[in-house]
């Protein structure tokens, strides 16, 4: 397996205040495998996560992302492989010796302790003086917006507040690495978005290395500097969100991170970084590809709905496909059109901003694609199953 070197050159990383010991937050996962009984839940996973990155492990349930997170946190001992943070090999350290923060999916707040006691726990077991504990707890509660709620018990808090306590508790001892296991999963959509943005801000300011587990593609994209897509215990692709979205490594990734229209065709020629594919409807399109597609091979091309352009007959760009408008959906700031290709009748979905200008159901239109947005994959590769979102 290739080593996935992850160090960000995004703008977000540049905003971060560089720490003097920047290597301390670097997390190495080396050839980690794990089995439960006969089931191999992690298959030789290798990653090198740079200090200050916000890496999201994105995958369906059962893809091994939580197991990987627990291995890093020391809650699960891997069957094989090593974990290093900075220059320390922590593979065999118990969790309490790792100095890694962990936010649990259902928060795992101590129900018999107040918010202050929960947050101060890590400092208490580190034998920090009581006065200092109080002031640090107060600081971190202010940071997560919970000032004044220190004497409440977890059951007296809302879900969002409990989540903030869990976060405060995990960062109060200033770990260089923070692991989060679907921490927003139990919250409603609006709160999830707001807390996600807050978490992102906190991460960018503090420069703490975060590894975040989720099955929600949107959450992964909006928060992360890097996304790693996992399936069946293996990492399919690691990269910045834009990269994953625009240049998915395979059909599974393409479908997992967004909607796609697929077109099966045959490779007719090669261009720099891509191929020319003839579609059954007759036209030839240019598609980028990372795969080795020889001339004559079957190729499956994908185009995202927002990269499909709809014109009216003659004024459309070349080359064009003919289609008939079946459904027009107006969603406020966006619209969505379902078209049936002529003559095959295959459905193509188009998405655009604002109102659909002059496109009505039943009209005949011509469609084409944004330059450089089509991606081609070998079609003879195993048919990938659709992902449950």
């Amino acid at each position: 397996m290739t080593r996935n070197k992850i160090s960000s050159n995004t703008q977000a990383a540049a905003e971060r205040t560089p720490s003097p010991a920047d290597e301390d937050g670097r997390l190495w996962i080396e050839s980690v495998s794990h089995t439960y009984g006969a089931a191999m839940v992690l298959k030789n996973v290798t990653m090198d996560i740079g200090s200050g990155e916000f890496l999201t492990l994105l995958g369906a349930s059962g893809s091994g992302k939580t197991t990987l997170l627990r291995i890093v946190g020391g809650l699960v001992l891997p069957s094989a492989g090593r974990i290093r943070v900075g220059r320390r090999d922590i593979t065999h350290l118990p969790p309490e010796k790792r100095d890694i923060g962990f936010v649990f999916q259902n928060y795992a707040l101590f129900p018999h302790m107040t918010v202050c006691e929960n947050v101060g726990f890590a400092l208490k077991v580190r034998k920090v003086a009581a006065g200092q504990i109080a002031s640090r707890v107060e600081d971190v509660l202010a940071l997560v917006g919970l000032s004044g709620l220190g004497n409440r018990y977890p059951t007296q808090l809302s879900g969002g507040q409990q989540q903030r306590v869990a976060l405060a508790r995990a960062i109060v001892f200033r770990p260089r690495v923070l692991l989060l296991d679907e921490p927003l999963g139990a919250l409603d959509r609006q709160l999830r978005q707001r807390l996600g943005l807050e978490l992102r801000g906190l991460q960018r300011q503090s420069g703490i290395t975060m590894v975040y587990v989720t099955h929600d593609q949107e959450e992964a994209f909006t928060m992360s500097t890097q996304v790693a897509v996992m399936k069946e215990g293996a990492i399919l692709q690691v990269g910045a969100p834009q990269e994953i979205y625009r240049r998915p490594a395979d059909l599974f990734v393409a479908r997992f991170v967004g909607e796609v229209n697929t077109f099966d065709g045959k490779v007719e020629g090669k261009v720099a970084g891509g191929v020319l594919v003839r579609l059954p409807e007759g036209i030839v399109v240019e598609a980028v590809t990372g795969a080795d597609l020889p001339i004559g091979a079957k190729a499956r091309c994908v185009a995202r709905p927002e990269h499909v352009l709809v014109g009216r007959g003659a004024d459309a760009l070349c080359p064009t496909l003919r289609a008939r408008v079946q459904t027009v959906i107006f969603g406020g700031s966006w619209h969505r059109i379902e078209l049936a290709l002529q003559p095959s009748g295959r459905i193509v979905t188009v998405e655009g901003r604002g109102e659909p200008q002059g496109i009505v159901e039943g009209a005949d239109v011509a469609i084409t694609f944004d330059q450089g947005t089509i991606v081609a994959f070998p079609a003879d590769a195993q048919e990938q199953q659709t992902v449950q979102a």
Partner: protein, 551 residues
Amino acid sequence: MRARRPLASGLLVLPGLAFVLVFFVYPLLGVVLRSFDSQGGIAFPPSHPVLSNYIEILHDPAYVVVLKNTFVVAALATAIAVAVAYPTCFFMSRLPRRWGARLLMLALFPFWTSILVRLYAFTQILPLFGVMYTTTATVIGMVYYLLPYVIAVLYANMVTIDDDILAAAHTLGANSVQALRYVFVPLTRSGVFVGAVMAFVISLGFFLTPAILGAGSDLTIATYIQQQVNIVNWGIASAMGTVLIAITLALFFFATRFFGAGELLVLGGTSQKGVARAERMRLTWPVVNSAIVTLLVFIFLLAPLIVVVFVSFTPTTYLIFPPQGFSLRWYADFFNTPDWIASGWLSVRVGLLTIVSATALGLLTAIGLERSRIRGKQVLRAVFLAPLIVPVILIAVAFYDFANRLHLAGTLAGYVIGHTLLALPVTVMIVGNALRSIGTELEDAARTLGASRQQAFRMVTAWLITPSLAVSGIFAFVTSWDEPVVALFLSTGATTLPVHIFNYMQSEVRPTVAAIATMLMASVLLISAAVHAVGASRRQKLGAPSGSGQA
């Protein structure tokens, strides 16, 4: 329509209520009245209540010794039981759920075994250690009896503490001792308290254990009451009994005051993923130590029963280790002795009739309590649960007194009524819980589809509570089948099997009892296997997951 419904259902509690009032509350009231009569007589209303019996208790040093003895032994047994159950349950609760549940079943096996079987086992073992007929023997026997109860309570409490809570403590820097001290132990306080109060209340009422294992001088309140009843000294017996009731009720009141049910709830008690539980346990010192304690506790719980099985096959009339050869003569002895067969047959009949009466009354009562909006439900529930709380010795004495006057003592009806009284709280509880968990939604759905109220109940709810009725029937049978105390007092004529065993153990040393005990244990195993099989096939029919972990 809807307004009439609650009242009609509420009437269903009446038969059960009448039963409890007539055969439990009224006789107990009789005991209390006797305690205030200088001659220990009974009169309604009491002509001139006097405190002479109580004054006598306080002034006679012998009574004080009995009281003190009872409390010291009960406290000691409770403390030991909780102290060894705690690490055991800690270990069990950290195992994968399935294994924890299996160990719990194993720990409860003695509970399902007749108390006389257990006591017989100790009469075989304790002499080897030279502690038979001492207070130590009493305490060992009591701890043995209490352990399954305390383990059940503590395990139920600890298993709700999610592994993630402890994992959280570790990721925050707590070592295994700190995680236990700051997180696990505080979260189990209420469980320990509930378990200890329960064990202590049970201990106060111990009758057979001190009577069989203890020193002759080791009188407890319960054995003392029995002695006084035997010599028809009702005044003192009643006063002692009233003191015992008062203490028991006070303890219960105090316990429920301090800890509501809500205390036992723990946040995040559900572990959502298989990940945490499937993981291998970290071998920290607390885990290793608790594993050792667990092993010892299980040896303690199961070894006596295994010894009994060995004894039953021994050809000699007394225990020799290792057994000299193999023989079925004690089994033959049982089947060739008409007395044994007669008492066994009586127990079967009493047990079967108790199933019918306790389940029927329990079902009606549970429907009345769960499906109506009658007032005073809390009080009614307390009344129905009371026979579980009041020490059995008192129920036995009070009911004996009452049954004597009605000439029910020694009759089949007398035994069935007495045992129904003991089984009813359990059947009400089981069926009531089932009805509550089923809810009324399905019945309402059936009615919106056109079913009448009776049809809806018959076609939906009745079908769904059948397993619970079966379970409550089993409980009723076991309660009756194993019950020695009430039956002992009633046994003026024919005796039930447990009473026959008790009498036999007092006079004979032949291992026929071991053969009976082995057969009883085998029947427990057979019944539980059958229940398991029926449950499994039913689940399969419903297409529900078998609960045995992930695929």
